[in-house]
């Protein structure tokens, strides 16, 4: 897949990429999907911050930020990829919403954003499968690390190594739509990384 890199960071695999768009007015834009499975999730933030880092080993994130062009967002990133030359390097990016570019975040890079209130994010994920991460499950591909964790105490993760055909991702999207259409309740799972150990937690909203 062609990467249209606009601006690199100090972590390889974390960069700004150019979106596909046309300018339809002085400050108006129409975006079309970036190359890939053509799956877009729109995420609206009514809260300021998630206040913890999240790591996914099977998913590349591509985030386009929409909102007040004067609102400064801070993104914090820590490279947690096993074998990476920048393992446990931390990068802070300050930026403002701009529909012309997206933030590309490789698998295994911990991410956290602040000052997100009233920001909308277009997420265009790309999933990867694995023959190595035997416990991988798309339903719990979330490792949560508290914000104030010391760099040397961040986990080291093995990322998924196998690409998936776009059609497989679209099948999953169809199932997600079906589940949301037919079921009002579902449980979520994630891993919590604290004090050097990992706990798998499954939660279901109380009625």
């Amino acid at each position: 897949m062609e990467l249209r890199i606009l601006e690199k960071s100090d972590i390889n695999g974390l960069h700004w990429g150019k979106n596909y768009y046309v300018q339809t007015g002085q400050e108006s834009f129409t975006l079309v999907a970036n190359p890939g499975p053509l799956i877009s999730d729109m995420i609206y933030f009514s809260i300021d911050s998630t206040d913890h880092f999240t790591i996914q080993v099977g998913q590349i994130d591509r985030f386009t930020f929409f909102g007040d062009p004067e609102q400064e967002i801070t993104g914090l990133f820590v490279d947690c990829r096993k074998g990476s030359p920048t393992l446990h390097k931390k990068v802070e990016l300050k930026f403002k919403p701009d529909p012309r570019k997206h933030l590309y975040i490789e698998r295994g890079i911990a991410k956290m954003f602040t000052n997100m209130k009233n920001i909308t994010v277009r997420s265009e994920p790309i999933w990867f499968s694995t023959n190595v991460n035997t416990e991988y499950n798309i339903g719990n591909d979330r490792l949560i690390v508290p914000r104030d964790t010391e760099l040397e105490n961040f986990p080291i993760v093995q990322i998924n190594e196998l690409p998936l055909p776009n059609r497989a991702l679209q099948v999953i999207l169809e199932r997600e739509q079906q589940i949301l259409r037919e079921n009002k309740e579902y449980q979520q799972s994630f891993d919590l990384y604290m004090g050097g150990s990992r706990s798998r937690v499954t939660i279901k909203k109380r009625n």
Binding site: P165, L192, T202
Partner: protein, 82 residues
Amino acid sequence: MALIEKVHSSLEELQELVNQTTDPLEREGLIAFINCITPHLETASATFLGKIAQVIGSDISTAGSVEEALEALKENFEIEIE
């Protein structure tokens, strides 16, 4: 039950896709993907909602330990720990 049957049909579709996938790495990825979905059919809702159920909220932001984090979550969620 109906949901599980429909999930099975999507798995069948993915298995058919294996034969149509010519890129060897994508083919291997697809087989591995099917293998990692199959054991989780009973919790299919969670499995198939993994991509979009990414934000929990800030319940655990001030916790100093796993125990404190879970205690914070208990207010709003039923919890199971492995």
